[in-house]
């Protein structure tokens, strides 16, 4: 039984874990990481990265279909879904290898196997070969991530009822698909499958799709999905999912739907196998490990970061937490993660990106707000690209000009949003944005115009 002694043991090498490990190493700590799958976690292997590869394929298919608009004649083209998945796997493999490289570069020990946190300072690793290794560490970081949840009584068999984990590996696509859950994962897969010709129905229990986003974003995205023949049903409660018909029969309150497969995208829950929170005395709150602003759990020397530490379940939030945990372990005084300033990005077409409060939430505070909105139809760059769906919406405090929230639906929304992320970090107000010259022609000009709009000064509208 091999024994390792290290400063820091990190269980899980997703974006939280690997970033934490690297930052620890940078700060001069010895680090051992444990991974039971492939380095990079869900993000690199089964989530963010491979789905972005698939979405890129979907976009290219879409462009081919639109080629005549640009005067390009494509007599016929074949979009092989299996090839899209294979490409996606290559992309994921490459990124995962990148993580392994970074581990080597930073002299981080990677142990393959399932880590178990026995007690503070002691992690055992059950390796694939049956052996067990132990890690003694000054600090242990739980970065075990999350796994897809299902609805009560419905089993994800990855055959008829698949999760994103299954969908991203599956090299064939169903002729029809019911997506349960219209959050980021649901609408992204709906986008991919629909682009390849699958008849997609999206069911959402809440009254609107992408329900955490601004209402106007949800409404317009729903219209755009409808235009693409994606069926969207909101305020729908699924009562049962059973095999039958074309594959699966989904019953809702008052309706019976049929499809070849069901994609369960109702959210993700903390993955806590290997961490007996109760025995360790680690506090769990709403199903997630509770961590302090320094990312330490209720037990000294045990840290938790990323999805396992609670929402938002986003890779970039996990990375930020990983850095905080590393610096806390190294005795630094890290700046805590600003959870009010985490961008939210969905990569469907058109993309959705947001930061801060929705208009409705901003109004809930009772303060006077001002809203500026600029449609991409009025953006020269968007018209030139031929991507004019969507808008930039800026919600600000009327008195101070504080940027309370920004909501973008449109081309490259996920890239445009960062202007406002930086602005909010620096506590810029509307005025600082409007006094910043935005290059022309760019999609970001829409941000400027929406900001001007919030001050009643929009030029191009």
């Amino acid at each position: 039984m091999a024994q390792h002694t290290t400063d820091v043991a990190v269980i899980g090498t997703g974006p939280g874990g690997y970033v934490c490990a690297i930052r620890c190493a940078q700060l001069g700590l010895s680090v051992t990481v444990v991974e039971d799958d492939r380095p990079g976690g869900v993000c690199l292997n089964w989530g963010c990265i491979p789905t972005k590869a698939l979405l890129r394929n979907a976009e290219i298919v879409h462009l081919f279909e639109r080629a005549s608009e640009f005067g390009i004649t494509v007599p016929s083209f074949q979009a092989d879904y299996a090839e899209a998945v294979k490409r996606s796997r290559r992309v994921a493999d490459r990124m995962a290898k990148g993580v392994e490289f970074l581990f080597r570069k930073n002299k981080i020990t990677l142990l393959a196997g399932r880590g178990k946190l026995e007690r503070p300072g002691l992690v055992t690793v059950a390796g694939g070969g049956g052996g067990t290794e132990t890690i003694e560490a000054r600090a242990v970081v739980i970065a075990t991530g999350a796994q897809p949840k299902s609805l009560p009584g419905i089993e994800i068999d990855e055959r008829l009822v698949i999760s994103s984990n299954g969908a991203v590996r599956q090299e064939w696509r169903p002729k029809s698909l019911i997506v349960i859950g219209a959050g980021a994962v649901g609408v992204e897969f709906a986008d991919v499958y629909a682009a390849y010709g699958t008849a997609v129905t999206v069911l959402e229990a809440l009254p609107r799709i992408v329900p955490i986003e601004d209402e106007e974003v949800s409404a317009q995205l729903a219209r755009l999905f409808a235009r693409r023949s994606i069926t969207v049903r909101t305020s729908v409660k699924v009562t049962s999912v059973k095999p039958g018909g074309a594959g699966v029969i989904v019953e809702t309150e008052g309706e019976r739907l049929e499809a070849e497969q069901v994609l369960m995208a109702v959210g993700r829950g903390a993955r806590l196998d290997g961490v007996d929170a109760k025995a360790l005395g680690v506090t769990i709150e709403r199903g997630f490990v509770k961590a302090s602003p320094r990312m330490e759990t209720s037990v000294r020397g045990i840290y938790a970061i990323g999805d396992v530490a609670g929402p938002p379940l986003l890779a970039h939030k996990a990375m930020a937490e990983g850095v905080v945990a590393a610096e806390a372990i190294a005795g630094r005084d890290p700046r805590p993660v600003d959870y009010a300033n985490v961008p939210s990005c969905t990569y469907c077409r058109p993309q959705v990106a947001s930061i801060g409060l929705t208009e409705a939430k901003a109004r809930e505070g009772g303060r006077e707000i001002t809203v500026g909105k600029f449609p991409f139809t009025a953006s020269g760059k968007a018209v030139a690209l031929g991507d004019t769906d969507g808008f930039v919406k800026v919600v600000a405090d009327k008195k101070t000009g504080e940027i309370l929230g920004v909501h973008i639906l449109g081309p490259e929304a996920t890239e445009i949003i960062h202007e406002f992320a930086v602005g909010r970090t620096l506590e810029a107000t509307l005025e600082e944005i409007i006094h910043t010259i935005h290059a022309h022609p760019t999609l970001s000009e829409a941000s400027l115009e929406a900001t001007l709009g919030a001050l009643g000064q929009a030029i191009h509208l």
Binding site: K399, T400, L426, E427, A428, T429
Partner: protein
Amino acid sequence: MAVTKVVMPKLSEAMESGKIIKWLKKEGDRVAGGDILAEVETDKADVEMEAFGAGVLRKILVPAGSQAPVGALIAVIAETDEDIASVVASAPPPTAPAQAQPPAPKPAAMTSDRPAVPPQPRSEDFTTREKSPAAPGAAGRSDAPDAPRTAVAPGPARTSAPPAGAAAPAGGATSAAAATPAGARAAAGAPTAGPESSAARGPAAAGPTGRVKASPLAKKVAAQSGVDLHVVHGSGPGGRIVRRDVEAAVTTAAAAPAPAVSGAEYEDRPLTPMRAAIAKRMPLAKAPVPHFYLTTEIAMDRAWELREELNALEGQPKISVTDMLVRACAMTLLQHPGVNASFQGDSIRVYHRAHIGLAVALDDGLITPVLRDAQDKSLARIATEGRDLVERARARKLRANELSGATFSISNLGMFDVAEFSAIINPPEGAIIAVGAVRRVPVVDDQGLGVGRRMSMTLSCDHRVMDGAMGARFLQDLKRLLEAPLRLLL
């Protein structure tokens, strides 16, 4: 036409350096005497700096945002054909904006350890907007280079102090902090190396007159909630003040006396420039000046009635008790010049004019604008000018000459329902009067027991200038005047 050197004016007694907020003229502009050249920031006020020489503003040596010591060459006015190279070459480099001036002795008569250094415009080429106190006649926008010097009526040489009235009585500091607190935080942050480097990366709120490092949002919230960013501790990167810091400051202020920081027993708040000035000036005002105090009670019934009658008149400014006091003190001071006097070491300077300093409370300190030549002004005019001074004092918009030159001061805490108190003399003045509230009290007179309006006044006197009886006689006449107030209208 000679070359005119524009130097950093000494705008208040304790001022050792000033910051150019902005230049209102640019190089190449033609300026006439009296044109406003620039706005200068001192720790108590933003002041307009006037050109004294005429010609072309040939060279600006201290850019906006930079600091320069008093007396330093900051610009040159000359005709276009004049050679100014040698003048410009003699100028020292300006100090970086955020730089707090060290409390080092300054050249010439500007030492700060003398409490009563004249605030008089020192240079030949600059004067403040209005002229020196005692010489309204010289107030013309003369191009004559030495007008200001002749303008100071009682003719104080630079070594002997003329009236300096900016000091606040009742614990008043003068208009400037000689030893600016170098940014309490700046000291905590990077007490490194030479002045240049510390200026360059002085953390947080920088020097007291320097740039405050704060986010745009923090600045707006501070402006809206009336928080002085100089006193806010910055928790952002490098000590930058962010919104939550300002909000915490607001909460702290609102939640007092409950300590805002949970668990903390105390907090150390950095001195504001004004507080630092007060802290520095007060011992100099109190310790070397042997104070004695005379208290009397005034029957304010008639003055009160008169005031109500006056205030019932249409189209007249509202008269306050303080306005009546200013008028009464000015009139009485002319009769008792020994009280309107200043100790000069080997002589006593007796003033023939009454420049009355009015202590004005600010949120974080106090300031004493000067109402000049009160002896020549009607109640209505005193009311109008007084209100203007007080409002601008609160807005920190006083001009330099309004901050200095008082011969006597009044501190009225009646509005806080203070019955009576004693004030600290503001050197070089010889006396200050501290006024309590006008209260309705039972009084006994020939008709028996009645209700009357009474007001306590305490005169603080410099024993080096006067003795008890002299002060008492002044007080007695002041009391008579207020009790038979019709003469205030004459």
